[in-house]
Amino acid sequence: MNSHQWLELAVYIAALVLVTKPLGLYINRVLNPAGRTWLDPVLRPLENLTYRVLGVNPAREHDWKQYAFAMLLFSLVSCLFTYAILRLQDILPLNPQHLGALSQHLAFNTAVSFTTNTNWQSYGGESTMSYLSQMVALAIQNFFSAAVGIAVAGALVRGIARHTAQTIGNFWVDLTRIIYYLLLPICLVLALFFVSQGMIQNFKPYTAARLIEPQTVSVPKTDANGKPVVDAQGNPVMVNQTLDTQTIVQGPMASQMAIKMLGTNGGGYTNANATHPFENPTPLSNFFQMLALLCIGSAMTYHLGRETKNQKHGWAVWSAMFAMFLAGVLVCWWAEARGNPIHQQLGVAAADGNLEGKEVRFGIFDSALFATVTTDASCGAVNSMHDSFTPVGGLVPMFNIQTGEVIFGGVGAGLYGMLIFVILAVFIAGLMVGRTPEYLGKKIEAYDVKMTLLAFVILAFIILGFTAWASVSNWGTSSLANQGPHGLSEMLYAYTSGAGNNGSAFAGLNANTPWWDTTLGIDMLLGRFGMIVPLLALAGSLARKKIVPASVGTFPVTGVTFVVLLVGTVILVGALTFLPALTLGPIVEHLLMLKGTLF
């Protein structure tokens, strides 16, 4: 934990603060159909043409049910489209490596994963996806799913800001404007910047490079059908194989990486994700990838304040997010810099902390910061392997996801997730003073609390339910690379990542089996839409309410007291829900590590 790293953390925080207001103002204009932006001369005709082609009347707004129906219909169609591309990629163009079609369960998992903005990957991108699949199935879905998240957050904020209204916006207008005015322009600039840093963008076939020193490796022997040959004891028969060439990935990477980070999607072009030198070439590209991850989530809090005409409230929500962000970074960084005491006793890397699973170009600090940022956002990108973190270091990303990724969060999803906790905090404060809770002049009634709890409980139900099932079934445990508490952490992380629509992997788990692909796919669907539907119902309910004037019993939603209550609500609810499972996983693993046991 040296001064350079502290300085980088300070610069990162300063950049995040600086981008929040201007981007928040811009998002506010984008989410207002009548809002003027400097891109209007170019994009307004295209926007109007899109409405004409789709048969959308932009002046007609939706009530919450119509909004939910349009969102679900769009997501269903885009999911089936992605599934079809992945299943047919072997006969579609732009496949110079002649990669085969994905299996049904992998295509299902991947289609759902990218539709829900999860981007969980049970595959290695460079050995599985054709260029067409990368661009048409995955990159486009990155734009769509990110736009859906921002649209839902925009609708919820409208519900909070409006009064005695029946509608919460037009889904098709929100979707179109977010893609055209927000995501595409920023991604264009970001992709060009990444190319300037050395990221590739081409359609060339993969390059075969001859190794200067051929390597001999031991690999499992396979029969004519490609299945591993085993000996009489059931162990795989190994044979030596000499490698004299290396296949170097090519393809349209920069265009996909821009939206991968900005849209908090995270699906890597390569299996190594942001550790790969093409996918994250320089320290500067690493910095801007991390900034791209949180900038929209941070700016959405400014939009909240602007739309509700209470900018202090927007900053209060931002402050709560920031406090938890900083705590997570510092704990994760401290744990990784402190390292593994067993390694230190053995004299392995005693001075370097825990470097296992880390890209040495980035080191411990940038790995800890990236891991915290990517799990604060609902992003699956990684520049180090979370499975190799110390137990406490690995607990931070897992806890970030389990609290609902509300620390700036995924694009849109972070804000609507945090607003659940805001309503809960206001409700708890109301109970404490014995008054009907109010939020920005709206009385929070039984229906609103029911919708809030439905949105939250679904996550706990599916994460803990699926993890419990996996941990007692051979389907689940047979995919584990580690036993004991670490194995439980791998399974818990997988379902947490899926339900939270994060997508980052703890590693150590072979998830490309029919059972894992299918259950994780269902986990992602329930985590995304099981949460969004009651939130839209909440938006509709809030929009219909009248504004009541503030009184002495009104709990202020600005200031330090509110921030502390909000942070306390997030941590307490998250801790009460997941602490027992975390105790059996990373916490007991940490205690056993101190006693000299590794898993």
Partner: protein, 35 residues
């Protein structure tokens, strides 16, 4: 031929799962309205 049938059957099953879940979410929305 049986392999082709199996592949088609699996496609139908997974597409069916997707459609069934989205239909369930629509019903869920209706349920939320009446809660």
């Amino acid at each position: 031929m049986p392999m082709v049938r199996l592949k088609i059957m699996l496609d139908v099953i997974y597409i069916g799962i997707v459609i069934a879940f989205f239909a369930a979410f629509l019903l869920y929305a209706r349920g939320c309205e009446n809660l």
